[in-house]
Symmetry: C2
Subunit: 132 residues, 2 copies
Protein backbone atom coordinates (compact mmCIF):
# COMPACT_ATOMS: atom_id res chain seq x y z
CA UNK A 1 0.00 0.00 0.00
CA UNK A 2 2.83 2.36 -0.58
CA UNK A 3 3.86 2.15 -4.20
CA UNK A 4 0.98 1.55 -6.57
CA UNK A 5 1.35 0.15 -10.06
CA UNK A 6 -0.48 2.62 -12.23
CA UNK A 7 -1.09 2.66 -15.95
CA UNK A 8 1.07 5.80 -16.18
CA UNK A 9 4.06 4.39 -14.34
CA UNK A 10 4.01 1.31 -16.52
CA UNK A 11 3.80 3.43 -19.64
CA UNK A 12 6.82 5.46 -18.54
CA UNK A 13 8.86 2.34 -17.92
CA UNK A 14 7.83 1.06 -21.35
CA UNK A 15 8.92 4.29 -22.98
CA UNK A 16 12.24 4.25 -21.12
CA UNK A 17 12.85 0.69 -22.22
CA UNK A 18 11.99 1.31 -25.86
CA UNK A 19 14.15 4.40 -26.30
CA UNK A 20 17.38 3.77 -24.48
CA UNK A 21 18.57 7.35 -24.45
CA UNK A 22 18.96 10.27 -22.08
CA UNK A 23 15.99 12.59 -22.52
CA UNK A 24 14.39 15.35 -20.52
CA UNK A 25 11.08 14.88 -18.73
CA UNK A 26 9.41 17.05 -21.34
CA UNK A 27 10.93 15.04 -24.16
CA UNK A 28 9.73 11.79 -22.61
CA UNK A 29 6.27 13.29 -22.15
CA UNK A 30 6.16 14.46 -25.73
CA UNK A 31 7.30 11.10 -27.07
CA UNK A 32 4.71 9.27 -25.01
CA UNK A 33 1.92 11.63 -26.00
CA UNK A 34 2.87 11.26 -29.65
CA UNK A 35 2.80 7.50 -29.12
CA UNK A 36 -0.76 7.63 -27.90
CA UNK A 37 -0.23 7.56 -24.15
CA UNK A 38 -2.52 9.85 -22.23
CA UNK A 39 -0.42 11.12 -19.33
CA UNK A 40 0.14 14.39 -17.52
CA UNK A 41 3.45 16.21 -17.62
CA UNK A 42 3.60 16.49 -13.83
CA UNK A 43 3.18 12.74 -13.60
CA UNK A 44 6.15 12.20 -15.88
CA UNK A 45 8.26 14.53 -13.76
CA UNK A 46 7.18 12.88 -10.51
CA UNK A 47 7.78 9.33 -11.67
CA UNK A 48 11.12 9.99 -13.29
CA UNK A 49 12.28 11.63 -10.10
CA UNK A 50 11.09 8.88 -7.83
CA UNK A 51 12.57 6.25 -10.13
CA UNK A 52 15.85 8.15 -10.06
CA UNK A 53 15.80 8.22 -6.27
CA UNK A 54 15.10 4.53 -6.27
CA UNK A 55 18.10 3.95 -8.53
CA UNK A 56 16.14 2.52 -11.42
CA UNK A 57 16.73 5.61 -13.51
CA UNK A 58 19.83 7.76 -13.98
CA UNK A 59 19.56 11.53 -14.00
CA UNK A 60 22.22 13.85 -15.35
CA UNK A 61 22.32 17.54 -16.11
CA UNK A 62 23.19 18.71 -19.60
CA UNK A 63 25.22 21.83 -20.21
CA UNK A 64 22.06 23.93 -20.33
CA UNK A 65 21.10 22.81 -16.84
CA UNK A 66 18.23 20.58 -17.90
CA UNK A 67 17.89 17.19 -16.27
CA UNK A 68 18.02 14.15 -18.55
CA UNK A 69 16.75 10.71 -17.58
CA UNK A 70 17.49 7.23 -18.81
CA UNK A 71 16.85 3.73 -17.58
CA UNK A 72 19.80 2.57 -15.51
CA UNK A 73 21.70 -0.50 -16.65
CA UNK A 74 24.39 -0.56 -14.01
CA UNK A 75 24.65 -3.36 -11.50
CA UNK A 76 26.50 -1.53 -8.79
CA UNK A 77 25.63 1.60 -6.92
CA UNK A 78 27.86 4.43 -7.94
CA UNK A 79 28.82 4.98 -11.54
CA UNK A 80 29.16 7.56 -14.27
CA UNK A 81 28.20 7.94 -17.90
CA UNK A 82 29.64 8.56 -21.30
CA UNK A 83 26.83 10.17 -23.24
CA UNK A 84 26.44 11.18 -26.88
CA UNK A 85 25.66 14.87 -27.11
CA UNK A 86 23.67 14.33 -30.30
CA UNK A 87 21.42 11.35 -29.74
CA UNK A 88 21.52 10.77 -25.99
CA UNK A 89 22.91 7.26 -26.26
CA UNK A 90 25.09 6.47 -23.29
CA UNK A 91 27.41 3.92 -21.77
CA UNK A 92 27.64 3.15 -18.09
CA UNK A 93 31.12 3.83 -16.75
CA UNK A 94 32.92 2.63 -13.67
CA UNK A 95 35.96 4.53 -12.56
CA UNK A 96 37.58 3.10 -9.45
CA UNK A 97 40.75 5.04 -10.24
CA UNK A 98 38.78 8.26 -10.29
CA UNK A 99 36.97 7.43 -7.07
CA UNK A 100 40.18 6.89 -5.14
CA UNK A 101 41.75 9.93 -6.80
CA UNK A 102 38.86 12.11 -5.66
CA UNK A 103 39.12 10.83 -2.11
CA UNK A 104 42.86 11.45 -2.04
CA UNK A 105 42.55 14.99 -3.42
CA UNK A 106 39.90 15.77 -0.85
CA UNK A 107 41.97 14.49 2.04
CA UNK A 108 45.05 16.32 0.85
CA UNK A 109 43.14 19.58 1.04
CA UNK A 110 41.59 18.98 4.43
CA UNK A 111 38.12 18.36 3.06
CA UNK A 112 35.86 15.69 4.50
CA UNK A 113 32.69 14.04 3.34
CA UNK A 114 33.84 14.20 -0.27
CA UNK A 115 31.30 13.78 -3.02
CA UNK A 116 31.82 14.06 -6.74
CA UNK A 117 30.11 14.26 -10.08
CA UNK A 118 31.62 13.39 -13.41
CA UNK A 119 30.10 13.23 -16.84
CA UNK A 120 31.75 12.36 -20.11
CA UNK A 121 30.21 13.71 -23.29
CA UNK A 122 31.14 12.94 -26.84
CA UNK A 123 29.93 11.92 -30.26
CA UNK A 124 28.97 8.26 -30.59
CA UNK A 125 30.12 6.26 -33.57
CA UNK A 126 26.63 6.16 -35.08
CA UNK A 127 26.28 9.94 -34.96
CA UNK A 128 29.82 10.40 -36.22
CA UNK A 129 28.94 8.22 -39.21
CA UNK A 130 26.06 10.60 -39.94
CA UNK A 131 28.46 13.51 -39.96
CA UNK A 132 27.22 15.05 -36.75
Amino acid sequence: MTVRTTRQRTAILDALTEADEFRSAQQWHEAMSRGGDRIGLATVYRNLQSMAEAGAVDAVRDEDGEVLYRLCHATGEHHHHLRCRHCGAAVEIEGPAVESWAAKIGAENGFTNIDHTMELTGTCSACAAKGL
Copy 2:
Protein backbone atom coordinates in the same frame (compact mmCIF):
# COMPACT_ATOMS: atom_id res chain seq x y z
CA MET B 1 37.11 50.22 -27.86
CA THR B 2 35.50 46.90 -27.50
CA VAL B 3 35.63 46.07 -23.80
CA ARG B 4 34.94 49.09 -21.64
CA THR B 5 36.00 49.44 -18.04
CA THR B 6 32.85 50.43 -16.28
CA ARG B 7 32.24 51.24 -12.64
CA GLN B 8 30.07 48.15 -12.41
CA ARG B 9 32.57 45.77 -13.89
CA THR B 10 35.23 47.05 -11.53
CA ALA B 11 32.89 46.69 -8.57
CA ILE B 12 32.17 43.09 -9.52
CA LEU B 13 35.84 42.28 -9.74
CA ASP B 14 36.36 43.89 -6.35
CA ALA B 15 33.58 41.84 -4.84
CA LEU B 16 34.96 38.65 -6.38
CA THR B 17 38.38 39.44 -5.00
CA GLU B 18 37.17 40.24 -1.51
CA ALA B 19 35.02 37.17 -1.06
CA ASP B 20 36.92 34.27 -2.55
CA GLU B 21 34.01 31.87 -2.69
CA PHE B 22 31.66 30.32 -5.21
CA ARG B 23 28.39 32.26 -5.18
CA SER B 24 25.43 32.62 -7.50
CA ALA B 25 24.87 35.76 -9.55
CA GLN B 26 22.02 36.70 -7.25
CA GLN B 27 24.18 36.19 -4.18
CA TRP B 28 26.91 38.39 -5.63
CA HIS B 29 24.35 41.03 -6.49
CA GLU B 30 22.86 40.94 -3.03
CA ALA B 31 26.27 41.17 -1.35
CA MET B 32 27.25 44.11 -3.53
CA SER B 33 23.98 45.92 -2.95
CA ARG B 34 24.31 45.40 0.78
CA GLY B 35 27.83 46.77 0.51
CA GLY B 36 26.58 49.98 -1.06
CA ASP B 37 27.18 49.25 -4.73
CA ARG B 38 24.42 50.43 -7.00
CA ILE B 39 24.25 47.85 -9.78
CA GLY B 40 21.58 46.03 -11.75
CA LEU B 41 21.04 42.32 -11.46
CA ALA B 42 21.19 41.86 -15.23
CA THR B 43 24.56 43.57 -15.25
CA VAL B 44 25.88 41.13 -12.67
CA TYR B 45 24.65 38.21 -14.76
CA ARG B 46 26.10 39.62 -17.95
CA ASN B 47 29.52 40.38 -16.52
CA LEU B 48 29.92 37.14 -14.65
CA GLN B 49 29.08 35.27 -17.83
CA SER B 50 31.44 37.23 -20.02
CA MET B 51 34.20 36.93 -17.42
CA ALA B 52 33.60 33.20 -17.31
CA GLU B 53 33.84 32.99 -21.08
CA ALA B 54 37.06 34.96 -20.94
CA GLY B 55 38.43 32.52 -18.38
CA ALA B 56 38.81 35.04 -15.59
CA VAL B 57 35.96 33.51 -13.65
CA ASP B 58 35.02 29.89 -13.02
CA ALA B 59 31.42 28.78 -13.27
CA VAL B 60 30.06 25.57 -11.82
CA ARG B 61 26.59 24.21 -11.29
CA ASP B 62 25.48 23.21 -7.81
CA GLU B 63 23.23 20.23 -7.19
CA ASP B 64 20.16 22.45 -7.53
CA GLY B 65 21.21 23.49 -10.99
CA GLU B 66 22.14 27.05 -10.07
CA VAL B 67 25.35 28.46 -11.51
CA LEU B 68 28.02 29.56 -9.06
CA TYR B 69 30.85 31.91 -9.92
CA ARG B 70 34.25 32.56 -8.43
CA LEU B 71 37.40 34.35 -9.49
CA CYS B 72 39.71 31.87 -11.20
CA HIS B 73 43.13 31.30 -9.70
CA ALA B 74 44.38 28.67 -12.07
CA THR B 75 47.28 29.27 -14.38
CA GLY B 76 46.51 26.71 -17.03
CA GLU B 77 43.46 26.27 -19.15
CA HIS B 78 41.51 23.25 -18.10
CA HIS B 79 41.03 22.39 -14.45
CA HIS B 80 38.50 21.33 -11.88
CA HIS B 81 37.46 22.31 -8.36
CA LEU B 82 37.08 20.97 -4.88
CA ARG B 83 34.39 23.12 -3.34
CA CYS B 84 32.98 23.37 0.18
CA ARG B 85 29.23 22.78 0.10
CA HIS B 86 28.76 25.03 3.12
CA CYS B 87 30.80 28.17 2.55
CA GLY B 88 31.72 28.04 -1.12
CA ALA B 89 35.46 28.01 -0.49
CA ALA B 90 37.24 26.08 -3.21
CA VAL B 91 40.56 24.75 -4.35
CA GLU B 92 41.70 24.60 -7.95
CA ILE B 93 42.43 21.02 -8.98
CA GLU B 94 44.46 19.58 -11.80
CA GLY B 95 43.86 15.98 -12.76
CA PRO B 96 46.07 14.82 -15.61
CA ALA B 97 45.33 11.21 -14.66
CA VAL B 98 41.61 11.90 -14.99
CA GLU B 99 42.03 13.67 -18.30
CA SER B 100 43.84 10.76 -19.89
CA TRP B 101 41.43 8.31 -18.27
CA ALA B 102 38.47 10.15 -19.82
CA ALA B 103 40.08 10.14 -23.24
CA LYS B 104 40.83 6.44 -23.01
CA ILE B 105 37.30 5.54 -21.89
CA GLY B 106 35.87 7.56 -24.74
CA ALA B 107 38.04 5.91 -27.34
CA GLU B 108 37.33 2.45 -25.97
CA ASN B 109 33.63 3.04 -26.54
CA GLY B 110 33.95 4.48 -30.01
CA PHE B 111 33.18 8.02 -28.94
CA THR B 112 35.01 10.99 -30.41
CA ASN B 113 35.32 14.62 -29.46
CA ILE B 114 35.25 13.72 -25.77
CA ASP B 115 34.49 16.40 -23.25
CA HIS B 116 34.07 16.05 -19.52
CA THR B 117 32.97 17.80 -16.36
CA MET B 118 34.03 16.90 -12.85
CA GLU B 119 33.32 18.60 -9.59
CA LEU B 120 34.40 17.58 -6.11
CA THR B 121 32.29 18.72 -3.18
CA GLY B 122 33.00 18.35 0.49
CA THR B 123 33.23 20.08 3.83
CA CYS B 124 36.25 22.30 4.29
CA SER B 125 38.25 22.12 7.51
CA ALA B 126 36.97 25.52 8.67
CA CYS B 127 33.34 24.49 8.29
CA ALA B 128 34.06 21.10 9.84
CA ALA B 129 35.48 22.89 12.86
CA LYS B 130 32.18 24.75 13.16
CA GLY B 131 30.32 21.50 13.25
CA LEU B 132 28.76 21.89 9.82
